[in-house]
Symmetry: C2
């Protein structure tokens, strides 16, 4: 072989090698192109992705106060009393809006018993002298379709008796009267509105032996700047204003307790119904027959990964008269929130979980719409609802935020409020303005609105935020015009002329929904819950430590410690998942523990004295339905202790405290299991 | 270029091409080797893999009748009455076995109230003539540690009265006596064991006015081949044999209803306790103090994918005396099952879900161990337990299979029995032998063993299979020696000399666990449930169609149709998932619907007459605790109808039927949501 041939062979060998290497590289990378990213990797990315924070700003940017104002004007344009044609109209309006926003929407009807005054006769109170002459008679101002002042579910009829002033008609007021040897038996009592739910006032009066009760809005509370500075110049109540409202202690449809008010349900017979209703007239009224009730359900869209986990948002739509604050300041916030999400859906965004907007009817008659729907849907809600956000009366004032929340949701609210500008323009965020307000406080849930069947009935974590108090002049959370005919469009615009509070609330609610619906791990704050329970237990032992004894006290501490330890374990698991865990079922398991935590505190049999309230911690106080206390089931027992202090009261405390210990252990086991 | 050179160039080009192609191939497949299977694909494969069928044969091959026999001999070696030292020993034995098999095991103690006869005095019945002379007195044979015959929780004391024979002391028997104008008021009644739970007999006697009741095992039922052909020659009851047993209608610890029997729990005071217990003596006995109760929990292992979903297997361990059939024929099956799974764990296999073996104590005193543990763990069990398999008395006979099951689990049992050889060697499988037996039937769940708190209390689907009946000679499911001192090792070996029925049951239980714990989609049979409900509703309308009226009848049909449609939709979703769905969260969502289906039928407030039984369909019949009926909550109402037929009875039917409709709709919604 010549050297030239030799070179040729080398060249050939090199060429072959080169071809081989190029081939390897092409083969190698062509394979790469075919397989990267494969569909399975994409699937895992989709399942494991965390919430999309960039959506927050898009939500905020979409909010439009022009839309809010237009809805406010339309909805407050007529009285919206539940069961009336005007109210059906407003329901149809909300329904049409939801559809227009590109959302699914559905109407569900229940046949319930409501309560109205006789249209052909006025309710009145008159003063009759000993000789029988009438020296005074009340007159109410009513125009157009407005319903005359009355208290729903009061029995009708005439009662006569001496008049006794009983302050706010609280239990303590009647105690004080008893101590002063003033007997109200057989009398008509007159009491101021405020400092408690009016239904409790009526019940207290009945239990004290009164034959009737008159409720009025005292100018000291409702017109503190004087009776000349009232509506339409200010938001204070004019002298002829009267606050309507229901007085029932059992919520939901009065004639179908425990059933949805469907055709097949068992309806109480007259004597059974009367046994549940208030026993003494609150103002002379008459019953009407059952009316149709509407509820609007709007299935916003289906979540992509955890489709059968639901974040719920709700508010009622019926009003005593025009209801510009209660409920429509909440309705306009909810409707605008729905519009904003509808817009983002159109732009292609989808959250992890499903979101459900609910517009309730007949809340004013005792949470009728929400209760019936929950009775009709209790089982799947129990296993699938992540949280319920109540947006009733979202702008009741303009001074600061008034937040009722379960501890699990407090941080969701705070994080959202921290991303929203301060409507006063003073602080960096709405959160900071609230946090620095002298009135800053977080309230326990209690009763008073449509969160009750979700939270107290099914253990679904709930929050109920609003703007409240009237800046610089007003000390009560409810506005003076509350439930009167003056609570109209004009009154609302005095509180929020530029709709900046309505806009701020819309932003906070929107971002709270996004966080709850889109975060990979449900953003519940377990630390706040352990803190809440520790505080509650301390309070409990301060009151009843003597009664329960050292052995039980030790068990209470053991249960609380077990809960603390389980919470710490789960927290460290959650902290670790972000870094190295790729398994979508693992995240789902953690979320299920979080979902079930709140449910661990339910008592199947209900609280002592009210079987419909099942949540050991977050039910309404049985002694004041509006109130929130650490252990609402002890309300009735406290009375027992205060008045009798017998062995039987001690036994009741022991029984209930044992349930508290059992359920705290249950909560710990739920986090561990 | 010469033609030779030309050829060389072609060859070179071909070589280069070949090298290139080989390179491409090597590159392509080397890349494949590097990337296939990647970790994310492996993860999805792990999450999505279906159950491993090859495990079935390994389970079967590992079963060892030598082990079963050894356990049988040890466990029946002493009387195992709950609360005695002998029973604590057997508990420790099971615990040690579980640990030895490589499983986690835990002992949990509760402090409960049991009931024993006075050790210093015999229980007896004597015949006293009119002149006061005693002409007869019963004597019981008792040896060593055996407890003398008694009925747990009977009040102690002496009663005297005329003796009246009341057949089986069923309600119908007392009705017949009344029709015959025989008044049992003030008498002592004597009744045969059988055809119902003994506690109902005592209660019926009390309600008829009797002051005491004597229960005996009639030779017609318990020694049908004559009193000379009895133990130790046959499994029939000798003339001195007596059946022990509890007579309480409320199950669980009698002194802590609604609480686990922990130190912090509320314990009934004496008058409260007495109000719950039987009112008339059943045999003269005395109470002892509370004893410690043990329960053994064995966390077999954690499932790999759905760790917080539990398949539960349980049996009690206490016996009235030696208990070779009740419960130990079940205990040996459960312990062997645990050993077999332990072996497969050691071999590296892991199922999708977690499995939990439970060995209960004090079942004979009214399901005490299982009830207390469920009261202590109700919340996480509610959300996480997939199924409960009860293996009490798994070989009570040798004639054929006796299956109690909820419809959801029937197919799980059938599929397992179809994979196991026929112990008679006649058919292709145990399933076929059972299916072709003239006594073939599937029983409703009812009460009678430790499944009650799981199924009736929490809605966890349960099955309770056993071999039953004595071949060719015996017509009752319970053996004649039941609850007597003769129910010992020797007696059991007469029924199952080669332990082939124990082995067959071990195989069926093992495979049922594997299927439930390992299948990707929980193998619940929705079709059987829809069929079950359709049949139940038809039965209901046959009885009460007149009372409920056409409107309600229409609603019943509507609810059943809704359930059928929802079931069909879910079935088609499940059918589709095997082919083209790769998303593990999607499968989990389907499994959650299946998990929640049974829970949809729970009533928080419990059935009319027993608040502890919450399942509308699968609770024990309130009229006969052992019995299973379609709508157990109608039991008490049926009595009302039969005896009074008043408006009040009609109202009760209407209320309960409305609940049935509501819950069937709930079940449909759970499947759809």
């Amino acid at each position: 072989m010549t050297s030239r041939e030799y070179k040729k062979v080398i060249w050939t060998a090199l060429l072959i090698l080169l071809a081989f290497i190029i081939g390897v590289l092409i083969g190698y990378f062509s394979r790469t192109i075919v397989f990267q990213p494969d569909s399975r990797t994409k699937l895992l990315d989709k399942l494991n992705r965390d919430g999309d924070n960039s959506i927050t700003q898009k939500l905020f940017d979409t909010i439009d106060t022009g839309q809010i104002d237009s809805n406010l004007r339309i909805l407050t344009g007529k009285p919206r009393l539940a069961g009336t044609e005007n109210n059906r109209e407003s329901g149809d309006f909300v329904h049409r809006q939801f559809l227009q926003y590109g959302l699914q929407s559905e109407i569900i009807e229940y046949n319930v018993t409501l309560s109205y005054p006789d249209k052909t006769a006025d309710n009145y109170v008159s003063v009759i002298e000993e000789d029988g002459t009438v020296t005074f008679k009340t007159v109410a101002i009513v125009e157009g379709d407005e319903v005359q002042p009355f208290n729903a579910f009061s029995p009708s009829g005439n009662v006569m008796g001496n008049l006794v002033f009983v302050n706010y008609a609280r239990e303590t007021d009647f105690h004080k009267l008893k101590d002063m040897n003033i007997n109200v038996s057989g009398t008509i009592v007159i009491a101021k509105y405020g400092k408690g739910f009016r239904g409790n006032k009526v019940n207290n009066a009945y239990e004290a032996g009164a034959v009737g009760i008159i409720l009025y809005s005292d100018p000291g509370d409702y017109a503190p700047s004087g009776t000349n500075a009232t509506y339409p110049d200010t938001v204070f109540l004019p002298k002829d204003g009267a606050q309507r409202g229901n007085i029932v202690l059992n919520k939901g449809d009065q004639s179908t307790p425990g059933y949805p008010a469907n055709e097949y349900s068992y309806r109480l017979r007259e004597h059974e119904l009367n046994a549940r209703l208030p026993k003494i007239p609150c103002l002379p009224i008459s019953y009407s027959n059952a009316y149709n009730l509407l509820r609007y359900k709007c299935l916003l869209f289906n979540g992509v990964n955890d489709k059968n986990r639901y974040v719920m948002v709700g508010n009622h739509r019926d009003a005593w008269v025009y209801g510009s604050i209660d409920p429509i300041s909440g309705t306009i916030v909810m409707v605008e929130t729905a519009r904003v999400f509808g817009q983002l859906l159109k732009d292609g965004w989808r959250p992890r979980r499903s979101v459900l907007f609910c517009s309730w009817d007949a809340e004013e008659f005792g949470l009728v719409g929400s209760f019936e729907w929950v009775e009709d849907n209790s089982k799947w809600l129990s296993s699938q609802a992540v949280a319920y956000i109540n947006v009733d009366s979202a702008v009741s004032g303009n001074d600061t935020i008034h937040l009722k929340t379960v501890p699990l949701l407090q941080k969701v609210f705070e994080d959202a409020a921290n991303k929203v500008p301060d409507p006063y323009g003073k602080y960096n965020s709405a959160y900071e303005a609230w946090r620095n307000h002298p009135r800053f406080r977080v309230y326990k849930m209690g009763g008073g609105s449509d969160h009750v069947p979700f939270l107290a009935g099914l253990g679904i974590p709930s929050m109920y935020p609003k703007y409240s108090y009237l800046k610089d002049i007003w000390n009560s959370t409810s506005t003076p015009l509350y439930h009167s005919r003056y609570e109209n469009y004009h009154a609302f615009k005095m509180i929020d002329p530029e709709l900046k509070f309505a806009k701020t609330m819309t932003s906070i609610i929107s971002e709270s929904i996004r966080n709850l619906a889109d975060s990979r791990i449900i953003p519940f704050d377990i630390d706040r819950y352990t803190e809440y329970i520790s505080n509650g237990v301390e309070e409990l032992l301060n009151h009843y430590g003597q009664v329960v004894g050292p052995k039980m006290e030790e068990w209470i501490h053991r249960s609380v410690n077990a809960f603390h330890e389980s919470a710490a374990r789960l927290k460290s698991i959650i902290a670790a998942i972000h870094n190295d865990n790729d398994d979508p079922l693992y995240a789902r398991q953690i979320n299920d523990k979080l979902l079930w935590l709140e449910r661990s505190f339910l008592l199947d049999e209900g609280l002592p004295g009210n079987s419909m309230y099942k949540h050991l911690l977050h039910s309404p106080d049985t002694a004041n339905y509006y109130g929130g206390v650490s252990f609402p089931g002890l309300g009735g027992i406290t009375q027992c202790m205060d008045i009798q202090n017998t062995t039987e009261c001690h036994v009741e405390i022991h029984k209930h405290v044992a349930k508290i210990i059992q359920r705290i252990f249950d909560a710990a086991k739920t986090l561990d299991s």
